[in-house]
């Protein structure tokens, strides 16, 4: 029950991100979620798109370095403590978060977060057992 995320290397110079978004626009690719991890010299842009494979190919053709990674798309009750309940479950099993960011869109009355963990299989089991919904690639596409 994973969702494919694209990660793109973006140099930390003015205009780079604008160039990147223009490529997506020209190819009709919609970013449904986005986060950027930045360092002094570069950023890693992470995003969820409807068709990751098409996005990867398009971006590679335009000279971008892209990696596709499996991440979890987790439905979070949209109320105080909603996220805490989920993170506690992972922490109990000693599953480490690599990073986490939230979705732009909602799934019904739930907020959505993208989570990357060090033990994905274990995380899926723990969260599913706890009754927490994870979205599939098809469900993300349908959002």
């Amino acid at each position: 029950m994973y969702v494919k995320q694209i990660s793109v290397f973006i140099e930390n110079t003015p205009g780079r991100l604008a160039d990147f978004t223009k490529v997506l626009e020209d190819a009709g690719i919609d970013l449904v979620s986005l986060s950027i991890a930045d360092t002094t010299n570069f950023g890693i842009l992470r995003g969820i798109v409807a068709d990751p494979e098409k996005a990867r190919e398009t971006l590679a053709q335009h000279g971008y370095t892209v990696k596709v990674t499996d991440v979890l798309a987790v439905c979070v009750p949209d109320r105080p403590g909603g996220l805490a309940g989920i993170l506690e479950k992972l922490a109990e099993k000693n599953i480490a978060l690599e990073y986490l960011y939230s979705f732009v869109r909602k799934a019904g009355d739930h907020a959505l977060i993208i989570v990357r963990v060090d033990q994905p299989e274990e995380a899926v089991r723990v969260l599913t057992d706890a009754g927490i919904k994870l979205l599939s690639q098809d469900e993300v596409r349908a959002l």
Partner: protein, 432 residues
């Protein structure tokens, strides 16, 4: 001006006598390498030469050249002309790819080196009444120990502080009353600025011997003005000996090459030996070295020679400032760096050589080297941690293979400009 001269007999020898001495010593070194170094024997045999064919300096062009690559091919001890039991010291400089260039010295070689460095100290008016702060690196690099032995030989008090640790350098300059400084010119400028920043205007410094990297007259003026010293240019390379192959006298009009020990030549584009005054690639034949004698070693430093009499009274020829390189070697903070070393370092990390570019700048007084590396898809990661680890691995690999600290900047593929498909490997923004 009163010129201090350590060994007037040799340093002021009339040129015809000096030439006769070189004739004898050249015949001797040719005989020694022919007998003891298979590399030279093979080369001479291929040229149909025996030591008997060399009657003196006039026959120099008959002899084969030696390139840095030859030293690499015979790593580590293949160029030594004496058994290991005769070798008392080993130094090394960074080689062109990975492996260092190794040199060995007999006790006689060390003694002659100290003598030449003693001459060099006197050239800079440094004698037994001086306190010499040696801020060249000690270790495999020849700078520290070379200066150390010379300063001891003239009877100076030597402070072997080695390179780096500017705060400590400043403390010793003040507390120990150092009167002379030996280091790279860029580090001298760095120390001068640090002193200024601390508001220290009075020191006992009066002389400095600076070398191991190219510098300019403008830098000399600045160092002299800021430190109130005479800044003397020294030249050397470990393959030939180390610092003290040549040095300026107080006239500051070119560096005297100790011709009783080295036979210099300027080599032209067609590998011909050029007359004095013409610009070309400097080559040395070591006349008195026993551990690792070299015939016509190509330094790939571009310069000119002159045998015009010098006001100091020394008769030995003078070489002008090094005007550039005839190969792609860079000198970064005194360390010789070849792009091929960086390439090798990248190969070690990535398994292939990615597109890269070396950007050298002088920030303030110190050289910086940035290696821009285009990111290969297989090294792309979604986590910052992995990417920073990759940068660190590249930094460490360059430090291990080129012995220099570089900053590494990962770039998007295609970011490094290419002309006709081939990337320009080195951008040197220093104004030298």
């Amino acid at each position: 001006m009163e010129h201090m001269i350590w060994n007037p007999t040799m340093e002021c020898m009339p040129r015809d006598q000096l030439r006769a001495l070189q004739d004898d010593r050249l015949k001797d070194v040719v005989r020694r390498v022919y007998e003891s170094v298979p590399f030279y024997r093979d080369k001479m045999q291929k040229l149909g030469l025996t030591p008997k064919d060399i009657h003196g300096v006039a026959d120099i062009e008959l002899l084969p050249f030696t390139e840095k690559q030859d030293l690499r091919d015979h790593y580590p001890y293949g160029m030594f002309a004496v058994p290991q039991s005769e070798i008392v010291r080993i130094h090394a400089s960074s080689g062109t790819t990975g492996k260092p260039t190794v040199v060995g010295y007999t006790s006689g070689d060390i003694d002659r080196w100290a003598e030449m460095m003693a001459r060099s100290m006197y050239c800079a008016n440094i004698g037994k009444n001086d306190i010499v702060q040696v801020a060249y690196g000690y270790g495999l690099f020849t700078g520290g120990l070379g200066a150390h032995y010379g300063a001891e030989r003239v009877g100076a008090s030597v402070i072997p502080i080695s390179g780096g640790n500017t705060t400590r350098q400043l403390m010793l300059i003040q507390d120990f009353g150092s009167t002379a400084l030996c280091c790279t010119p860029s580090y001298a400028l760095n120390l001068a600025e640090a002193l200024q920043a601390e508001g220290i205007t009075e020191t006992k410094l009066k002389s400095g011997i600076f070398g191991a990297e190219p510098w300019t007259e403008a830098m000399r003026e600045k160092i002299e003005e800021m430190l109130h010293i005479d800044a003397i240019n020294i030249y050397g390379l470990s393959e030939v000996m180390g610092p003290g192959v040549s040095v300026e006298c107080m006239c500051k009009q070119g560096m005297h090459i100790w011709e009783d020990h080295f036979l210099p030549e300027i080599i032209g584009e067609n590998k011909e030996s050029l007359p004095f005054g013409e610009r070309g690639d400097l080559a040395f034949t070591t006349l008195t070295k026993h551990g690792m004698p070299l015939l016509r070693y190509r330094t790939h430093d571009l310069c000119t020679l002159t045998d015009e009499p010098c006001a100091c009274g020394r008769t030995h020829v003078r070489m002008g400032r090094v005007m550039g390189r005839t190969d792609d070697m860079l000198i970064i903070r005194g360390v010789n760096v070849f792009p091929s070393q960086v390439e090798h370092a990248l190969l070690q990390v990535e398994g292939i050589v990615p597109q890269y570019q070396i950007v050298v700048e002088r920030q303030g007084t110190l050289d910086t080297m940035e290696v821009q590396v285009e990111l290969s898809p297989e090294f792309m990661s979604d986590t910052v941690r992995d990417m920073e680890a990759l940068e660190r691995r590249i930094v460490n690999s360059i430090a291990a293979h080129a012995l220099v600290h570089a900053t590494v900047k990962l770039c998007q593929p295609g970011a490094i400009p290419r002309s006709e498909g081939k990337a320009k490997r080195v951008i040197d923004k220093r104004m030298l």
